[in-house]
């Protein structure tokens, strides 16, 4: 999300004030560039009158492995919390979208790049349990660089855990909407983000399994224009449709309507 008073659009270099951008749903007024936003903004866009309940906020990361690279993971967690204001890389909310109740797990990129660790997995798992218990549709808004390396195999296993839980949601015949935003890569793409009853994405979002740099190093040639962007995935059959942020609420509301018995 833009931070200073004046913000330059990375796409078209148009300058606007923070208020103007917020007013415009965090879009560039000139070129419709979607600025990166996290759960408070998405919840505000989605939920009626910005009213929702945050769930499972007391679940926080723990440095079980005592992981240390250039910095101890423990310190990274403290710094990330302080810097982002989030408890972890995901927030789960329940509220009404045009009067219809929806559980949304929304990733927070500002918290260690939206990386998926045990807390992300557990909060999704509990969000699904909650949706099943209250017979509600479930949505995940993905925005993540992938698995959190500092939790090693535990983070890898969150792909399995969340997928296991999604099979239970499916058995309960409750819809799962997967909404992919910029960026969605790695283990998140290779698990819940691609498993929606509908997969939808914001325009021009980077979506892929391997990151573009790794692919470039592997195949040793330049990547084509638009590679791994939403429009590319739509063209190759992995998205149902692309949705502009301004239409998000109506589209989600419509989908919930289509899914209703």
């Amino acid at each position: 999300m833009p931070e200073g008073i004046w913000n330059k659009c990375p796409e078209c270099r148009n300058t606007s004030t923070k208020e103007e951008i917020v007013e415009n749903m965090w879009l560039c007024s000139k070129c419709d560039h979607h600025f990166r936003i996290d759960s408070p903004e998405y919840f505000k866009i989605l939920y009626d009158d910005n009213k929702f309940e945050l769930l499972f906020e007391d679940i926080v990361s723990k440095d079980q492995l005592k992981f240390e690279d250039l910095k101890p993971y423990k310190d990274r967690l403290v710094a990330a919390k302080k810097k982002s204001g989030f408890n972890d890389a995901i927030s789960v909310g329940v509220g009404k979208v045009n009067g219809k109740k929806l559980v949304t797990a929304c990733m927070n990129f500002a918290f260690i790049g939206g990386s998926m660790g045990s807390v992300v997995g557990e909060k999704i798992a509990r969000g699904i349990d909650y949706a099943i218990k209250h017979k509600l549709p479930f949505m995940i808004i993905s925005k993540s660089g992938g698995a959190r390396m500092m939790e090693s195999a535990f983070s890898l296993m969150q792909m399995a855990k969340t997928s296991a839980k999604l099979t239970l949601l499916a058995k309960a015949k409750l819809p799962f909407i997967s909404f992919l935003t910029d960026p969605t890569t790695g283990g998140v793409t290779a698990s819940y983000a691609m498993l929606g009853d509908v997969n939808i994405a914001e325009p021009k979002a980077l979506i892929g399994f391997a990151g573009p740099r790794i692919i470039k190093d592997t195949v040793k040639k330049d990547l084509p224009e638009g590679f791994q962007r939403s429009e590319f995935l739509l063209e190759h059959g992995f998205l149902d449709f692309i949705v502009d942020r301004k239409e998000l609420k109506e589209k989600i509301s419509d989908l919930m309507g289509y899914f209703r018995k």
Partner: protein, 320 residues
């Protein structure tokens, strides 16, 4: 024979042994007692080295070029095998193989990553790095197994899913995600055996089972130590530290409850005695088949889902 850098002392002893053997055959002087002593020394040296391997050395062992691969286990364990090709959509991926296998009166469906044994074959097998077609072939075969009620055995040995242009075009992420999801609910018993490298989503894509086990000198992690070093340390030089930090060895994985069992390798590793290794794996497969077949399919699925749902660590304290 191929020696790893930490096996240098063994290599030297081997060379000496070879010299003695050559001179024996030339001079026709009986040196059998010397040879015997030297062989004993080599065995002792090997045992000593292998008892104190670092995590990084275990990673190196998991990649030993003489280590048995999926096809070797198939040949050594089963009475018959019929390889089955293709995902019925795009092509036949050479990095994942599969097919029906017979062991006495039990039929299995085998799937597994396949690496090549020489330069030409390594390339042909894409170094065990599968494309989406590989995962989709594996899923097709697992569904076939489900239809005819045959247990599935998955051999895992991959440095990762292939990060290529076409792989992305054809949905590498979706293919892996779909497999994980579908394997959770397979009605037949599934056992996954990590026989070499267990790298990230590429491994997990055929890694959901009622039993997930690792051979002693293998690793399982969200990322390879090299890539982890390059990302978190911003240099390729910290792979040893990364290996330690990632806690990727079978011992750690078992302690964390992320795998069900460790399968012991012969002294000197699987490559030093593939036959014995295969025998151990065969015994394990027979034992677990019996255990898993005794459980009702729905209970097996529930237990599988429950097992993976429990994985993770976190604190749950109010407003921490």
């Amino acid at each position: 024979m191929h020696f790893l850098e930490f096996e240098k002392s063994i290599e030297t002893l081997y060379e000496e042994l070879e010299k003695v053997k050559t001179s024996q055959s030339k001079t026709e002087v009986d040196m059998s007692s010397t040879i015997e002593k030297m062989e004993l020394k080599i065995a002792e040296e090997r045992k000593k080295i292998y008892a104190n391997l670092s995590d990084w050395q275990k990673v190196q062992l998991s990649r030993h070029p003489n280590r048995p691969y999926t096809n070797h286990y198939i040949e050594m364990i089963f009475d018959k095998f019929q390889e089955m090709h293709g995902d019925r959509n795009v092509k036949d991926d050479k990095a994942i193989i599969g097919g029906f296998a017979q062991l006495e009166d039990q039929t299995y469906m085998i799937i597994g990553h396949q690496k090549g044994v020489n330069t030409k074959l390594r390339k042909y097998r894409n170094f065990g790095m599968a494309n989406p077609e590989g995962y989709r072939k594996a899923l097709r075969l697992m569904k076939l197994a489900e239809k005819f009620n045959k247990p599935v055995i998955s051999f895992i040995d991959t440095p990762g899913a292939y990060p290529g242009l076409e792989a992305e075009e054809r949905g590498q992420g979706e293919a892996i995600a779909r497999n994980i999801y579908e394997m959770m609910n397979l009605k037949v018993p599934v056992m996954c055996i990590i026989i070499g490298e267990g790298a990230s989503g590429g491994a997990l894509g055929i890694g959901i089972g009622d039993r997930v086990v690792m051979l002693e000198n293998t690793w399982y992690s969200v990322i390879s130590p090299e890539s982890c070093s390059s990302i978190l340390w911003r240099s390729w030089d910290y792979k040893e530290q990364a290996a330690e930090q990632l806690k990727l060895t079978p011992k750690h994985m078992h302690k964390f409850g992320l795998i069900d069992q460790i399968i012991k390798e012969p002294d000197g590793g699987a490559h030093s005695n593939p036959k014995q290794m295969a025998k151990t794996v065969k015994r394990y497969i027979k034992k677990v088949t019996e255990e898993l077949c005794a459980i009702k399919p729905q209970d097996r699925i529930n237990q599988r889902i429950e097992k993976f749902s429990q994985m993770g660590f976190y604190n749950e304290d109010a407003k921490a």
